[in-house]
């Protein structure tokens, strides 16, 4: 497929796709080198390329929304791509806030996979949702932001559990010296969960506003509501328990991993097979 033979819109689309994929891939490679060598400049370049990828990814989402006259979460493509973008954005925020780059190499593959997989996702012809407007857009965007923040805390918890295990069995290898300290991983995970909790709380509240408005068309007993409330409760529990005597440390991280499995269930099984009004968010 030659770029010159495409329509102007498609050309922009392909250019943005390639630029974003390359920026994320290079960022991943630089984070990997940073983890292996500890070169600060490589880490900074990784962050810079991640930021560049975020910008081009944003324009890719924008361009597609304009082209289809729809929001980016209306189909599987948009939903996955938006999830990848918010995951990268949350990670970048966390990296800058905690000044810690070692986890980038573990997050970037997810971002890249979601971004590329979105392009490979089959097109669907679902009718647009009844709800629309800024409050609905915010409901969906915040929900996806929450999922991405929870995904990030999941990755951080896995790293915590792995590092904690290696420290306990005294098998440090090369990587442990490069990973963030356990307490920092714990703090990063809690920060990420906090972002997720705030987003999902506001997002869910906005969602219930729409339930109220469309109550003549939709049931209040959509399983999505129940599982979202369960997710909310589980993460509140994690947030509370993570600093208590019995749960502090590895147990809290295990709970965080378990919580994300419920999120995954909500995002996949519940959305695709059980929910009436939620498909891709």
């Amino acid at each position: 497929m030659r770029l010159g033979s495409l329509s102007p819109g498609a050309r922009v689309h392909v250019t943005l796709f390639i630029s974003t994929a390359v920026a994320y891939a290079l960022s991943f490679a630089l984070y990997l080198i940073f983890l292996n060598t500890g070169k600060a400049l490589t880490g900074r370049l990784g962050t810079l390329l991640l930021a560049a990828g975020l910008v081009t990814h944003y324009f890719a989402l924008l361009e597609r929304s304009r082209g289809l006259h729809t929001v980016p979460y209306h189909d599987l493509y948009g939903s996955m791509s938006l999830f990848g973008w918010l995951l990268a954005l949350t990670y970048l925020g966390l990296e800058l806030y905690h000044r810690q780059r070692s986890v980038g190499v573990l997050v970037l593959p997810f971002v890249l996979v979601f971004f590329v997989a979105a392009h490979l996702a089959p097109g669907d012809r679902l009718s647009p949702p009844e709800a629309h407007g800024p409050s609905f857009a915010l409901h969906v965007a915040l929900s996806i932001l929450a999922y991405s923040a929870f995904a990030l805390s999941f990755v951080l918890s896995l790293v915590y559990l792995g590092e904690e295990r290696l420290l306990r069995v005294h098998k440090l290898g090369d990587v442990v010296w490069r990973l963030p300290p356990l307490e920092l991983l714990d703090r990063m995970s809690r920060s990420s969960v906090l972002v997720g909790l705030v987003s999902i709380t506001i997002g869910t509240a906005l969602g219930f506003l729409w339930v109220d408005r469309l109550s003549n068309k939709y049931s209040f007993y959509d399983p999505k509501y129940a599982i979202t409330l369960l997710v909310l409760l589980l993460y509140v529990a994690y947030f509370r328990l993570a600093r208590t005597t019995a749960w502090r440390g590895a147990r809290a991280s295990k709970l965080c991993v378990f919580n994300f499995l419920i999120v995954f269930l909500s995002f996949t099984v519940v959305n695709f097979y059980l929910s009436h009004s939620h498909r891709y968010f």
């Binding site: 090369d174 990973l179 300290p181």
Partner: protein, 425 residues
């Protein structure tokens, strides 16, 4: 513009010789002054650490001749017989001297491979010599290069990153759990040599509060005073156990000092906040079962020794990478040195040719009677242009082509070939 280095280090001299030839800061200043006032060196710098004493310099004559003068100077300065020194001193010139200094700054020549302190010592020696006015363009460039090599090796290789002593490995492990130690506290049981090493490392890494306890209160007092810690009476440290995040035990005891039940109780009281324990005693001071408690990390002397061995091995693997950085900078320095020398040589050649031209005109052109003043001026101008043209291309190539400068190894030989009857300026 040769560089000469004469010195000794931990590899060439035993400690009893090293300590006799080491320089205090004042002695280093005085030696620099004497070396220049006696005309042994034009530029000079003395680098003296606990493991090495080295004099770097730029001699007025050829370096090989001045090396023996430097040895004699060292012998006289420290009142050590020359025969004692001769077996221990090494002499390096030009490329080898540059390479040696760059390897020293990189930590490749240190007793503890990749140690960080040496770079600070090189920086300090250079600062002192520079302030004293003992260095000139060559040593300034050389030592700035050495500092750059030291920084690059530390940032681009893992030569200095991994701890290679039991004490530093233990403290670095604590940082793997807690991150920065600046708001953490540590309790050290025992006040022997190993405890002191750990305390020094903890202080170096910024531990916020330090408690020391020992059977002999006097020794604990002395350590606490030296490292700004607090002393806990030997009988009362168990009560303080919930407080510290790091516990180090190095007590000579036949029985376990820290039992599992005590630590378990302390963990309850500290709400299961992570606890890192270093058992450096032999026999072990801490019940091995403590390591199984939730959020407790226990490392004994064997665990730490194994980590140190792994780290030493990892450091050794970094040597080729560090050496390639050293070689790159040696090449850069020699290229700069050659460019300075060659540009000087070209300028001398130009001066010589102008003198030859003036002589030639006096001898030949002035004998041609029919030439007017204007004709003579024109011939002089043409000869000037010809000579300038002959020198211009090589001068430009020498400025622009690094490889060419590297290929010209011996500027002195060129000088001898073209300017054999001229004094070196």
């Amino acid at each position: 513009m040769e560089i000469v280095l004469v010195g000794l280090n931990h590899r060439t001299a035993p400690v009893e010789v090293r300590e006799r030839v080491s320089f205090t800061a004042d002695q280093a200043r005085r030696a620099s002054e004497e070396l220049r006032s006696k005309g042994i060196l034009e530029e000079t710098l003395v680098l003296s650490t606990c493991n090495r004493s080295e004099v770097y310099g730029v001699p007025p004559e050829t370096s090989r001749e001045c090396a023996s003068g430097l040895s004699t100077f060292l012998s006289e300065f420290h009142s050590v017989r020359l025969e004692v020194l001769n077996g221990s001193l090494y002499h390096h010139y030009d490329r080898e001297a540059v390479r040696h200094l760059f390897r020293v700054a990189a930590g490749l020549d240190s007793m503890m491979l990749g140690e960080a302190e040496i770079l600070g010592q090189v920086r300090e020696a250079y600062r002192v010599a520079h302030e004293q006015g003992a260095t000139g363009p060559v040593l300034n460039r050389l030592f700035q290069g050495a500092l750059e090599v030291g920084k690059r090796v530390r940032s681009e290789t893992e030569l200095g990153t991994r701890p290679t002593s039991v004490a530093s490995a233990g403290v670095k492990l604590a940082e793997r759990i807690f991150g920065k130690l600046d708001h953490r506290s540590a309790l050290v049981l025992g006040a022997g040599a190993i405890s002191e090493q750990v305390i020094a490392q903890l202080r170096d890494r910024g531990i916020a509060r330090l408690y020391v306890t020992n059977r002999s209160r006097e020794r604990a007092d002395s350590l606490a005073k030296q490292y700004a810690g607090e002393v806990l009476p030997w009988g009362e440290w168990e009560k303080a156990l919930p407080m510290p995040d790091v516990i180090v035990s190095s007590v000579a005891a036949e029985e376990v000092v820290l039992r599992r039940e005590i630590v378990e109780q302390a963990m309850q009281q500290r709400a299961n906040r992570a606890l890192f324990l270093m058992d450096l005693g032999l026999p072990r001071n801490i019940d091995a079962g403590v390591g199984k408690l939730y959020n407790v990390y226990l490392y004994n002397i064997d665990d730490l020794t194994e980590i140190v061995a792994q780290n030493r091995h990892a450091r050794e693997n970094e040597i080729p990478k560090a050496d390639s950085i050293v070689e790159e900078h040696v090449g850069r320095f020699l290229s700069w040195q050659a460019s300075v020398e060659l540009v000087g040589l070209i300028n001398e050649l130009r001066t010589k040719m102008r003198e030859e031209r003036a002589q030639f005109i006096r001898a030949r052109v002035e004998s041609i009677k029919h030439l007017t003043e204007a004709d003579r001026a024109c011939v002089e101008k043409m000869m000037d242009d010809l000579l300038e043209g002959l020198l211009l291309e090589p001068a430009q190539r020498l400025r622009g082509e690094k490889d060419l400068r590297r290929k010209i190894h011996n500027v002195e030989a060129l000088r001898h070939l073209f300017l054999s009857n001229r004094e070196k300026p």
